[in-house]
Amino acid sequence: MDFINAIILLLNYIFIPALAYGSQLALGAIFVTLIYGILRFANFATGDMMSFGTMVTILFTWYFQSLGISLGFLPTALLAIPFAIIFMASYMLLIDKFVFKYYRVNKSPPVQLAMVSIGVMFVTQAVVRIIIGPSDRRFFDGEKFLIRAGEFKEITGLNEGLAIKSTQVITIIVTLILVSTLFWFLNKTRTGKSMRAYSDNEDLALLSGIDPKKIVMITWIIAAILATIGGALYGLDKSFKPFTYFNNMLPIFAAAIVGGIGNPFGAFLGGYVIAFSEILLTYAYKKFFMYILPESMEPEGLIQLLSTDYKFAVSFSILVIVLLYRPSGIFKGKIL
């Protein structure tokens, strides 16, 4: 019985939150990796683009709520996301047309493009803050829990409760659907294959008649889908605050590089690597050992490897170690 309790404890506090957080990071990391693989620059505006997509989602959600439309026990935001994606894709294509295209056509070095993306970051951040303000916003509605801790205890008769938030389940399911569709698209369709070819060897791809304009456009549209959904899921699960989104750029970068930049599957797994290591290393295992070990051996301290203040530092340290020992990432980067 104690053993089951211990497992439930880990599920409740480590496994499920890390899975949800990892999915959110994974979507952002695939976004970074796609831009890096096809447009060949590190996009420092990632976090702010995600916050822009989330902001549009929130505005649509409010609009639908004011019309009285809802999805019952599901959050209204799910209905708003498709509209937000259309909006976001046009914003990204607009930015590409007026900002990034010039440098791409001139074949500027990637560093210059990264600098330009910092300019885009400033502008996007300003637009988001001017439109919706810098404060914390929650836009979740519908049923909050799938299983409540109390109900779970009653049903199973265990000491430990297991609470599953509906946003966590939605996050995981949506991520799985989205990512599998994306991989299907990249691996099976003609356009996806030409994207991979373009990423692998630009000149060769151009020689074989691939239209670079189309590739770039589709990349931005996919990026818009990933950014909006990733951002909106994070906002649903936690809350929307522009500053947090800007900060999330850092673990997202870490996930993309750990997975091998330019490799979407690596980025997908990298998100989970980062999320799990952050949570595993900063969780206090005292209660877990109390269940597992006999009473005489009960631990005194919290049995916490690192204090939760160092949550971000954990992922960055992993990144630094990976960069030093395997700069191409765990899953070999630079092929799409």
Partner: protein
């Protein structure tokens, strides 16, 4: 002379703008902008050395700035005797263990050839070392943090004049840069940017949460000053006389004696804070001028030529027998040390150390905007960039407010759009910076004052 005409013109316009602020807003605001412009200029010079001279991207400016600030605290704050006696021994012991650990790892790295066993034994030493250090440090840290937590709760510093911290800050930042450079300089440009950005976040996390060293988010306030205090100045005779002399014409207009005294008091209060700011300006100006002379000399020296050669064609420079790795490391350390000086200067001016205020937007990306806008590779350009961007950063809110009022002039004062826009005026600075950066990158990619190398 003619060649430098654009430099002189650009600087005179900048000074004119600051003087205009002095006339129309107040001299206090103008001087505080000027002081922060000088500090920003020091930071940009540091970043410019790395980017402009050697083409190295360093997105870790925030980390070095914070380390400089930490130096200011550790140098100037009086030691907390009680905390030292409570937990000082444990801290010193763990420091000792850290040194032993590093030496052991170094010894193994040197003595044995690369193999799996070596990697595992190094990992084992590090893990064992961390466990030992934690067990020695933990009771010490707890003891230190429980010593009068509302006021101290940390070890304190050395109680020396804060001005020394400018040098120590440079040493701290340079030391960190040496470690980072050793491990990360081999990376490609954009990887290096990301790695330095993340490492600087780690540095901030440590400074924020190691309360025994820095008081963390509880902040350290009331640092010593190299300049006199306003309150003392207001009671000094020579200062009152000086203010009286300056404002004689205005004072003579007032005939009533008590009114005249009140007016004089007002002038003295204003004058004292202007005087203190002027003291800081003087100190900062000395630093900027010394650094400018040194960096200019370096730029035109054989070493500067070598750096440019390495920047423009690394392989060719390598083939000519220049040690690219060593030079990159050197310039990385030098540039970071300069940023460290700026960090210490910043804390000196503010008189307080707030680890929570170090954010990448303000301390990394803004500095980069300064470098790009000013002109990379040109020291005068870098300083000008610091001035222009900081000036706009501060004055963006008034300008934004003016623009909003202009655009929405036709709307009613309580119209929701107008109210919303006026509330969001502070964020117009981000918009301005972003658009400014994008325009400069597009139409004047070398900055306002481009790099110009004269071959003599």
């Amino acid at each position: 002379m003619r060649k430098n005409l654009n430099v002189i013109a650009a600087y005179s316009i900048m000074m004119g703008l600051i003087i205009l602020v002095g006339i129309f807003q107040s001299w206090n605001i103008a001087l505080s902008i000027f002081n922060l412009c000088l500090i920003s200029a020091v930071m940009t010079m540091g970043a410019n050395i790395q980017w402009g001279y050697a083409g190295l991207i360093n997105f870790g400016i925030m980390g070095y700035t914070a380390l400089g600030g930490l130096a200011a605290v550790l140098i100037s704050v009086d030691p907390v005797q009680e905390a030292w006696s409570e937990g000082g021994f444990n801290i010193l012991m763990s420091l000792f263990f850290i040194i032993i650990m590093v030496l052991a790892v170094k010894y193994i790295l040197k003595k044995y050839k690369k193999s799996k066993i070596r990697t595992y034994s190094i990992a084992a030493i590090i893990i064992l070392g961390i466990v030992i250090i934690r067990f020695t440090a933990e009771p010490g840290i707890e003891a230190i943090e429980s010593v009068n937590p509302a006021k101290t709760g940390f070890l304190g510093g050395f109680g020396l004049p804060i001005i020394f911290s400018w040098i120590v800050g440079a040493l701290f930042a340079g030391g960190l840069a040496f470690i980072i450079g050793k491990v990360a300089l081999g990376l490609r440009a954009d990887y290096l940017a990301i790695a330095t950005l993340l490492i600087s976040e780690i540095v901030i996390a440590i400074i924020k949460h190691e309360d025994w060293l820095t008081r963390g988010v509880k902040n350290v306030i009331g640092l010593k000053r190299p300049a006199p205090y306003e309150v003392n100045l207001q009671q000094t005779d020579w200062f009152i006389n000086l203010v009286e002399k300056f404002n004689l014409s205005k004072l003579n207009l007032i005939s009533d004696l008590s009114e005249r005294q009140a007016a004089l008091n007002q002038f003295v209060i204003e004058g004292s804070s202007v005087f203190v700011k002027l003291c800081y300006s003087g100190l900062f100006l000395v630093v900027v001028i010394i650094l400018l002379i040194l960096t200019q000399k370096a730029l035109y020296s054989p070493w500067g030529r070598m750096m440019r050669a390495i920047r423009d064609n690394e392989e060719a420079a390598n083939a000519m027998g220049k040690n690219v790795v060593k030079q990159h490391l050197l310039i990385f350390v030098l540039g970071s040390a300069i940023v460290g000086i700026a960090g210490a200067m910043l804390v000196t001016q503010d008189g307080l150390f707030t680890p929570g205020s170090y954010r990448p937007m303000r301390y990394t990306f803004l500095i980069w905007v300064m470098v790009i806008v000013g002109g990379s590779g040109n020291n005068f350009g870098a300083i000008l960039g610091g001035f222009v961007v900081w000036f706009l950063w501060i004055e963006a809110a008034p300008i934004g407010l003016y623009l909003v009022n202009l655009i929405t002039a036709g709307l009613d004062n309580s119209h929701f759009l107008k109210v919303h826009l006026i509330e969001s005026v502070p964020y117009f600075r981000f918009l301005m910076m972003g658009i400014g950066l994008l325009l400069i990158m597009r139409y004047r990619p070398k900055g306002i004052l481009p790099e110009k190398i004269e071959i003599k």
